[in-house]
Amino acid sequence: MTIARKQFNKPSFVLDKKLKQRLEDIATPLGTILILLLIWQLLTMILPTDLPGPIKVVQETWVLILYPFFDFGGTNKGLFWQVFTSLQRVAIGYSFAAVVGIGLGILVGLNKRLSKGLDPIFNILRTVPPLAWVPIALAALKQNQPAALFVIFITAIWPILINTAVGVRQIPQDFNNVAQVLQLPKTEYFFKILIPSALPYIFTGLRIAIGLSWLAIIAAEIVMSGIVGIGFFIWNAYQNSQISEIIVSLVYIGLVGWLLDSLMAWVQTLILPQSQR
């Protein structure tokens, strides 16, 4: 009897512990957020400032929060559409950056002379902040839409390119020796040795780049008037002194950025085998 009871008790205890752990994982950050909101509310009540407290923000923007899908034409659209349009731009610019960045990165990684010639240029260009590209992009492309795409592209490409090149350069000499002894054809070498070996580095680049391009699109849209997008939405709200709307947008931007990074991390776990993560 006692044995049977013990066996019965043990798993339920384990389950209980797991559940407790789960609850704690959710409750701790929630509690922290509540405390921070409280501090924010108190500060706006004490200090003389134009910034609204969290209660006022919700009061002023509950329509925006509850109806993210409205569409009254022009730039007068719900937050979902604003974010969605910005994300579309990111998707296009980022995809171009990924294709060109990985391609160029492989070339630079394989070719010593190319790498010597281009390395200083890359290092100068990659430190240029996204906003500094905006006037150049506008001057060169004349229109807002392609200029925004270009800004994302030029921001996202550097980490992808540089990480890919590093990944290709670090292919262990042993693997290259194997390729030489077997006299592997170029395509076999590319798909069986080069790409798998560089893949962890390429993913590091891709993950850094997705964060950067999300930062860049908002900066770019703020400067480009009259387009749908979360960046211009913020600028428009500022022009109309709707600080609460800006704060709600910031929350959206943060959540989407977090989502993008988690998405890349998840893709990484899908593609890279255990041993290479």
Binding site: L182, E188, K192
Partner: protein
């Protein structure tokens, strides 16, 4: 028992030996001037012979073997395989690398298939698959074909590396300290397997080792190198034990200890390593 190079050449059946290292020197340029690794090395190897190379670290054993595999070229002199100078690495001189060099993202099967696929382009896919399976079975890995290298032990990795090399039926098999990182039991097992395989496939084997007993068990001749810089072959020792060899019976003979002491004397008295 101890023969010079010339008598070894004379005793061979062919007029021209299979592999010839002819007056080979290797000089590496460094900041402080040229560094001579090997100087005037001569060696003639017959087809199907099992040669072990022994010497202190830094004596240029690996450099010598790299010139046979084609990863390095002699500064002066020539290395000839069947009368032709060696230009670059190729699958006719397969190398079992020191660190196994298996591709971790490919399965054991795919690692071996990679080479088979390149070397036998005229064969059908099922034929190539058959070859891979045959050689993996030979090294006792028929059940581990779908595993990835990080999932298997060091001894198994070395077996895969040997299977990968042998599946291409190379003229020369080059092994750079293949069993150095393995435990004593696995090491002895693999030595015996290597001998068995060598017996059936009759390829020429060049193997670097640090282990005199290993060399005495495996080799037809033991090449003992002098210390670097400017190392050369100090002596080539004939190992006359009849094959198939039995390790314990071999070790009971007085001759075994004569050879062993001779090699030890060479390494630790005549060419003792002066630790810099």
């Amino acid at each position: 028992m101890v023969t010079s190079l010339k008598s070894a050449q004379r005793s061979s059946h062919d007029a021209t030996p299979f592999l010839i290292v002819d007056q080979v020197s290797k000089v590496y340029p460094t900041k402080t001037g040229d560094y001579t690794v090997l100087k005037d090395v001569n060696l003639a190897v017959n087809q199907g012979e099992f040669i072990c190379v022994i010497g202190h670290s830094g004596c240029g054993k690996s450099t010598l073997l790299n010139m046979v595999s084609g990863f390095a070229k002699p500064t002066t002199g020539r290395v000839l395989l069947q009368g032709k100078p060696i230009e670059k690495p190729g699958p006719d001189r397969m190398v079992v690398f020191q660190g196994y060099a298996l591709l971790p993202w490919l399965s054991v099967f795919e690692n071996v298939y990679l080479g088979v696929n390149v070397v036998y382009p005229q064969k059908s896919k099922s034929e190539k698959t058959q070859i891979v399976k045959e050689f993996l079975a030979m090294v006792g890995l028929a059940d581990a074909m779908e595993k990835k290298p990080p999932q298997i032990s060091g001894g198994m990795k070395q077996r895969v590396a040997i299977a990968r090399a042998l599946a291409l039926c190379p003229e020369v098999l080059i092994l750079d300290e293949p069993f150095g990182a393995l435990d004593a039991i696995t090491k002895e097992e693999l030595q015996e397997e290597l001998l068995k395989i060598w017996n059936t496939h009759k390829c020429t084997v060049l193997m670097i080792t640090h282990d005199i007993d290993e060399a005495l068990f495996l080799a037809d001749r033991l090449v003992m190198m002098t210390n670097g810089p400017a190392a050369a072959i100090g002596e080539v020792m004939e190992i006359p034990f009849r094959r198939p060899r039995n390790r314990s019976r071999m070790m009971e003979t007085p001759e075994y200890y004569k050879l062993r002491n001779h090699a030890l004397d060479f390494l630790y008295n005549r060419f003792a390593h002066d630790d810099e």
